[in-house]
Structure formats: structure tokens, C-alpha cells
């Protein structure tokens, strides 16, 4: 879907982006992770040509974007900014309608699409005539997301989209983000410096440092197969939590023993991460939970102790750093 090859961007003597190549598959969520100054934001902004690269090629759907008129290219790529970048002199409705107006959609079509998005983002129509400053930070960020999604772009670029939000609001929006089916079909490239956020939202993570990609892979690959000390060091602080988040029930399925006690009918899918299962135990520590593996149609009932036991068995089998 997106193919980046040998991308270079220099400012004077400083190589902000130093020969980067990567590919993102259709529908994949790629997170560019790193500390500030590592070149992740520059890389992102080159993708919709807010910044022009010195050299390298970028193609989206096989088309070289550096040969397209930048305005037309951008109208087909959704963009979400850290500080939302909503126009303070436009109402919410006008803000969302910016790209449809640029694309000269008719009014009825725009209106219909706005209504649809508002519903998906759990915003009422009362907000449509409000100005952005009258909204909370979380609401502003949702409007920013709606503005990026309104014209149905296949690609979405997100620059620290949740960086300006407080922790409570952020985790709430993370949940909505994961649940939003509009986003499941999108190819998303997201920039963040927040390791947890990356692990929570990414299909794959590109960990960057000093203008280069140090390692690119799934969260579990980064956690359990780090290519060097930089990668393991980067993840060290929140290691346990990251492990809980990156390991799914399917990964430890074979280590889980079934108590056979089916206490109720509801069940969790086996794709659930360990972290989320722990969340479920939070309310009923002495209960058993039902889990269902769709692939082999297996069904298990587990307790908290069994879950922890399986988790540590799985970890012991991983190669040690």
C-alpha cells in the first residue's frame, strides 16, 4: 500500500531522516515510535509532502506521490494533528466540511456524511454549530479525527494524535479508536513517543533513533526479539505492562489448563490480550472466566492463578536477552 525507499531529509548538516525504507500493508496500523528529534514527525510529514524530502521515493498504491500535485494528494490523505489544528473561526460542522468543500461535494452528501461520523464518534448534533473553543480537549480531538475521516481517505496520518490529552481522556479515546470500524479498513501511520500507546494501537512498530529505523516489527517481536540494547533499553521501564499488552491468549493457549467449571455463558475471544483479561479479573478475582478460541473451536474456563501460571511458562520459553 505504502512503500517508502531510501528517504533522506537534511537540515543543513543535520540528517533529520537518514535513509529510511519501510512498507505498510493495506489496513495496517504502523506506529513510528521514538524520542523527540528522532525524525519520526519529519518522516510522517514527508508522506503528505508538508515537508519535501531531499531524496528517496514514496509510492501509495503504486503511484509515486512526489509526482502528484501536493494539494490533490493531501485531499486524499487524512491528517490528524497533536493540537487538533481545528479552525477557530469555523464551526464544528464547517471544520468537518473543509475537505468535502475542497472536493466540491454537494451539500446534502456532506451533511449526510457528517451526521454519520458524529454518530460513530458519539457526538451529538448539538455541537455542529459550536466553535472549537467551546469544546473539551477530547471532543476537539474527536472532531479533528472526524475532519480527517470525512472524505473517506484510504490512508490516515496521525501526528501524536492523543499527545495533548490527559490520561483518563486518552485511554477512553484509545478504546474508541480501537473500536471504530471506519479505522479498521484504513492504512494508518501514527507518530508517538508514548511506548504504551504504541503497544496498544500498533500492528507494527518502527522504533526510530537519530533519523534511522532501529527495528521494525510487531510489539511482541520488539519485546522478545530486540535487535540491540537500544531497543530493549527503550522498552525496559514498562516491560511487564508491555508484555501483558502484547501477549494474547492465543499465544499462551497451550499453557492454559481448563477448570471445566463453566459458571456463565459469556466468553472472551482468544485474541484478547493478557492485559485486558486481567482487567476482567479486577472485578471478580476469585471467579473463573470463559474463553473461546475461534480457530480450533476450543473452549476453556480459567482462573486468575492459571492465567498467571501460563503467562510465566510462555515467558520462560522465550529467548533470553
Amino acid at each position: 500500500m505504502i512503500k517508502v525507499e531510501h528517504l533522506v531529509k537534511t537540515y543543513g548538516d543535520i540528517k533529520a531522516v537518514n535513509d529510511i525504507s519501510f512498507e505498510v500493508d493495506k489496513g495496517e496500523n504502523m506506529v513510528l515510535l521514538g524520542t523527540s528529534g528522532c525524525g519520526k514527525t519529519t518522516t510522517l510529514k514527508i508522506l503528505n509532502r508538508l515537508i519535501e524530502p531531499n531524496s528517496g521515493t514514496i509510492s501509495i498504491d503504486g503511484k509515486n506521490i512526489l509526482e502528484q500535485p501536493p494539494e490533490l494528494l493531501r485531499r486524499g490523505i487524512g491528517y490528524v494533528l497533536q493540537n487538533n489544528g481545528l479552525f477557530p473561526h469555523y464551526t464544528v460542522a464547517e471544520n468537518i466540511a473543509i475537505v468535502p468543500n475542497l472536493l466540491k461535494w454537494d451539500k446534502a452528501k456532506t451533511q449526510k456524511r457528517i451526521d454519520e461520523l458524529l454518530e460513530k464518534l458519539h457526538l451529538t448534533k448539538d455541537y455542529l454549530n459550536a466553535y472549537p473553543t467551546e469544546l473539551s480537549g477530547g471532543q476537539q480531538q474527536r472532531i479533528g479525527l472526524a475532519r480527517a475521516l470525512v472524505a473517506n481517505p484510504p490512508v490516515l496520518l496521525m501526528d501524536e494524535p492523543f499527545g495533548a490529552l490527559d490520561n483518563v481522556t486518552r485511554s477512553k479515546i484509545h478504546d474508541e479508536f480501537k473500536a471504530l470500524d471506519e479505522l479498521k479498513r484504513k492504512t494508518i501511520i501514527m507518530v508517538t513517543h508514548d511506548v504504551q500507546e504504541a503497544f496498544e494501537l500498533a500492528d507494527r512498530i518502527a522504533l526510530m533513533d537519530k533519523g534511522k529505523i532501529v527495528q521494525i516489527g510487531t510489539p511482541a517481536e520488539l519485546l522478545f526479539n530486540p535487535v540491540n540494547d537500544f531497543v530493549s533499553g527503550f522498552l525496559q521501564d514498562q516491560r511487564l505492562q508491555l508484555e501483558f499488552k502484547s501477549i494474547k491468549l492465543t499465544d499462551i493457549w497451550e499453557h492454559l489448563s481448563d477448570t471445566g467449571k463453566k459458571t456463565n455463558t459469556s466468553s472472551l475471544p482468544a485474541e484478547t490480550g493478557v492485559w485486558d483479561v486481567l482487567e476482567n479479573f479486577k472485578f471478580y478475582p476469585n471467579e473463573t472466566l470463559n474463553i473461546l478460541n475461534q480457530q480450533n473451536k476450543e473452549f476453556k474456563s480459567i482462573t486468575f492463578e492459571q492465567l498467571m501460571l501460563a503467562f510465566s511458562k510462555y515467558k520462560n520459553l522465550q529467548p533470553h536477552e
Partner: protein, 523 residues
């Protein structure tokens, strides 16, 4: 106090026509120049946000323009654009440029970078970013600049009357020349009110929210144009010949008022300062001007004086006037000042004025040459028996006389001298004297009679018969009212006179003011 207010009110209702016309001209001048300044300043302001390395230079130039004194800027305009509305508008718009350019620049650079980035990232082209995002968001700051420019323009536009562009300055400067407080206030109060009202209205526009501002911005150019058109309403009528009169002349019984009442002269008149009046007459922008009979430019520009056949211009014999307490303090002063008495005739004074006004010799040099020729000059004694303060009004003849008195006092007495020259019109120099800021300055009998004493019409008519009766009357009254003594007349009579270009007067066969009237009335 009540009386003062009432007379001001009476003056304003008497002059309601003129006041209304001047106010319209004033508003017109302010907004024509503002409109053009916005047309020029806004694009420049936008341009320098794109070419940041030019911004310092452009803002610097606009800033320097702003620091040029308004009178000087108007003066620079005359050789380029002549007199009247054109140079005034150009000068005003130059003043208005800086706040508009600077605020446009500040406003646009101040737009949140994230919002600009979002606009670009949504796929707007650069014009869409400018018109849909940057300009609307910068609008409150830009409007603040326009507001500043408006208030500056209302103020500076008062000076436009100096170069015959009309406006409320006509009353203000006429009033200062004529020592007429009501006239000053009749110009100054409306001018101040205009500034306050426009400032207030624009502050309301500034406070409108984004939604309403979009409408307001569309209405603004139309409104600006309409207000600009006001200027042209009063000047829609013209005539065969154009007269240029000083503000002082306009309001005097022995000036335009007398021309109207005694001669019945009706001529298309514009108001202009005497500094540029002669030049304008020479350059055929004006046909008839109100000059002084001893002015050196009369000779320089080939102008002729029209005979005052009905005797409306009273004699203006020059004499030094001195505070009596200064005469007590400096016993030798009176006889020293009287050394000049009787030495300067009309033709000598015209010659001396010609040397300063046209040959550009310094007043000091002209004064010294004259004194040396008359064998009156003595080297300075360098005395320190106290300091005599000499004043003068702001035209060449007065500078020469002040220099002569200064040299005489230094040469014949042990007093030192300071000079305070260029004290504007009669009111300013006379107030300086009554407030004990100066001891002596040269004054004219006619000015003393009409502008300072403001003698009633009957008395003026009675005195007009001879030069001595006027001198005796002002001498007596000044001593009584102000404790100021008129010393012996210097000799020349610098009366008001109507002048025309010699060639034109000959062609039209105009020798007297009555001739002029007859020509104007003929079809």
C-alpha cells in the same frame, strides 16, 4: 464661562454651512487615504510574511515615513503633486501605511502554526490558506491597525488645510492666526469627536465574533468608498478664477469678509497656507492670492498687487512692541530699538524679503548687510546686564527684524539676547508675550487693532482714515489693557493685498479689485 460656550455655539451655528462642508471634507480625506492605504498596505503586509527577509526593510521604510513631521511631508508633496487634495491624500496614506502593514504582518505571522499546517494538510492551495484561514484569523489584529491609522489620519488631516485640501484644519489654523478661540474650537472639537467616534465604531467591529466579521469585512470596502466620496461633495462647484486665501485672511473683516461685504466679490476660494500660496500662484494653480504687500516673493514670482480701490485693507505699519516691565528692567532698550525707526520703507522691506525668500540668504546675513549699509552696525559688546528675549512670527520678514534688533541690542547695550523665532501666528506670539515668555517682537498696527484688540466695526471704520489714528489707538489700548508699549513705527506698511500673475492681470485688464469683480461677473 456660560458666555464663552454660548458664543462658541453661536459661532458654530453661524458657520454651520462651512462647518458641515469642512467636516465632510475631513471625513472624505481621512477615508480616501485610508482606503488607498488598505489597498496598498494589506498586500504588502501579506507579501512580507512570505518573504520574511524583506520584512525588516519594508517595516523600516514605513516606520521612517511615519517619523517625518507631517508639515514637512506635506511640504515635500507640493513640488511633486502641487496643492490640493492629491498631495494631502498621498501624505495621509503614507502615514496610514505603517500601522496597516505592521498589523497585517503581525496578525498573519501570529496565526497558530498548527491551524496553518492543518489547512495545508487538508489540501488547500496557498490562496485558499490565505483567504480562508490566515486573513480571517488575522482580521482582529489587522482591524486594530486600520483603527490606529484612522485616528492618525483624522489628526493629520487637520494639516491638509495648509495645502488647500480643506478639512477642519481651516477653522483651527484660521483661529490660531486670528486669535479667535471659538474658531479654533469649532474646528478642533469636531475633529476630536470624529476621532473618538471612528475609534469607537471600529472598536465595535473589532469585537464582533468570527461569524459576523465575515459580513462586516464584505461591507467595509463599500462603506470606505462611500465615506471617501464625501470629500467631493463640497468641491463639486468651481469658477472662472480660483483664489487661494490663508486661513487668517478667510476670517478677517479686513480680509475675505470685507471683500464679500464691501466689494461683493464672489470667487471660488480654497484655503491654503502662505508658505505655498505664492508658489501655487506662479504655477497657475491659483489665480488670485491674499499676500502681504512687502513680501519678497511678489518680486520673485512676477506678481502684481491689485489696487484696493474701496480701502478695505487698513494700514499695517510695523513697530516693535515691548512689555513695560522689560522697559523698566532694561533702561537702554527703548532708544536702541528705536534706532531702526524710519529706516525701512516698503520697497526696502520687499527687497530684504526677496533676499531671504528667493535668494535664500539667511535672515542674519540680510540683517547685518542692511545695518552695515546704513552704518548702524556695531560689533558685539558681549555684555551680561541681563537677557532681552526677542520673539517673532513664523515668516521671513519677522526673522529679519528679530535679527536686526538682536544685533542692535548686542552692539549698543550691555544686554545679552535670546531669540524665540518662528512662534506661529499672532495668537501664539502674543500669548507668549502676555505670559512673560518674550519681552519684545515686531507687530503690525492693523493686526493689533483687528486680531488682538478685536475692535468693533464702527471703531475700525473711524480709524481707517489715517495711519496715525490707528497707531495712536492701538498704542493707548495696549498700554491700558496689557501693559505693552508700541515703540516708533519702523516705516514700512505691510498691508494685506490681493495679487495676481502680472501677465494674466494684463491680459484680463484687471488693475483693481473692482476690475476683478467685474470680470468675474461678466459672462
Amino acid at each position: 464661562m456660560n458666555e464663552q460656550q454660548q458664543t462658541l455655539f453661536q459661532f458654530m451655528s453661524q458657520q454651520a454651512d462651512k462647518l458641515g462642508m469642512q467636516t465632510l471634507q475631513h471625513i472624505g480625506l481621512t477615508f480616501i487615504s485610508l482606503f488607498i492605504a488598505v489597498l496598498i498596505g494589506l498586500p504588502i503586509g501579506v507579501y512580507i510574511t512570505r518573504k520574511k527577509n524583506l520584512s525588516g526593510l519594508v517595516l523600516g521604510i514605513a516606520g521612517v515615513l511615519q517619523t517625518i513631521p507631517s508639515i514637512a511631508l506635506l511640504g515635500f508633496m507640493i513640488p511633486l503633486l502641487g496643492i490640493g487634495a492629491k498631495p494631502a491624500i498621498v501624505a495621509l496614506l503614507l502615514y496610514a501605511l505603517l500601522p496597516i502593514i505592521r498589523n497585517t504582518y503581525t496578525g498573519i505571522t501570529g496565526v497558530d502554526a498548527a491551524v496553518k499546517e492543518a489547512a495545508v494538510a487538508m489540501g488547500m492551495n496557498k490562496w485558499q490558506v490565505l483567504f480562508k484561514v490566515e486573513l480571517p484569523l488575522a482580521m482582529p489584529v489587522i482591524l486594530a491597525g486600520i483603527r490606529t491609522a484612522t485616528v492618525i489620519n483624522v489628526g493629520v488631516a487637520t494639516l491638509a488645510s495648509y495645502i488647500a485640501a480643506g478639512g477642519l484644519g481651516e477653522f483651527i489654523f484660521g483661529g490660531i492666526s486670528l486669535n479667535n478661540t471659538n474658531m479654533i474650537l469649532a474646528g478642533a472639537i469636531p475633529a476630536a469627536l470624529l476621532a473618538i467616534i471612528f475609534d469607537f465604531l471600529l472598536s465595535l467591529v473589532q469585537k464582533l465574533n468570527f461569524k459576523k466579521i465575515r459580513g462586516a469585512v464584505k461591507v467595509a470596502p463599500i462603506l470606505l468608498l462611500l465615506l471617501s466620496c464625501l470629500y467631493f461633495i463640497p468641491s463639486a462647484y468651481g469658477g472662472k478664477l480660483t483664489a487661494g486665501f490663508t486661513p487668517e485672511f478667510m476670517g478677517r473683516q479686513d480680509g475675505n469678509l470685507g471683500l464679500r461685504s464691501k466689494y461683493g466679490l464672489k470667487i471660488h476660494t480654497i484655503v491654503i497656507s502662505d508658505a505655498v500660496m505664492y508658489k501655487a500662484a506662479q504655477e497657475k494653480e491659483l489665480d488670485v492670492i491674499s499676500g502681504y504687500s512687502t513680501d519678497g516673493r511678489l518680486k520673485a514670482y512676477n506678481l502684481v498687487v491689485l489696487d484696493d480701490d474701496k480701502k478695505i485693507f487698513p494700514p499695517y505699519y510695523a513697530a516693535p512692541i515691548v512689555r513695560t516691565d522689560a522697559l523698566d528692567k532694561f533702561p537702554d532698550l527703548e532708544k536702541t530699538l528705536n534706532l531702526l525707526s524710519g529706516t525701512i520703507t516698503d520697497s526696502i522691506m520687499t527687497e530684504l524679503n526677496y533676499k531671504t525668500d528667493y535668494l535664500h540668504q539667511t535672515p542674519e546675513r540680510v540683517a547685518k548687510d542692511f545695518l552695515v549699509a546704513k552704518k548702524l552696525w556695531k560689533p558685539e559688546r558681549g555684555g551680561n546686564d541681563g537677557i532681552v528675549r526677542i520673539g517673532s512670527k513664523i515668516f521671513g520678514e519677522q526673522y529679519i527684524l528679530a535679527s536686526m534688533y538682536s544685533m542692535l541690542i548686542k552692539g549698543y547695550t550691555n544686554y545679552d539676547v535670546t531669540t524665540k523665532t518662528g512662534l506661529g501666528g499672532t495668537k501664539i506670539v502674543f500669548d507668549a508675550m502676555t505670559n512673560n515668555q518674550i519681552d519684545v517682537y515686531p507687530e503690525y498696527t492693523g493686526t493689533g487693532l483687528l486680531a488682538i484688540l478685536q475692535a468693533p466695526a464702527k471703531m475700525v471704520n473711524a480709524l481707517q482714515v489715517s495711519k496715525d489714528s490707528t497707531y495712536n489707538y492701538v498704542q493707548k489700548e495696549f498700554l491700558k489693557r496689557y501693559s505693552i508699549k508700541w515703540l516708533k513705527p519702523i516705516g514700512f506698511n505691510n498691508a494685506y493685498a490681493l495679487m495676481m500673475r502680472e501677465k494674466q492681470a494684463k491680459e484680463l485688464n484687471i488693475k483693481t479689485i473692482s476690475n476683478l469683480k467685474r470680470y468675474l461677473e461678466s459672462k
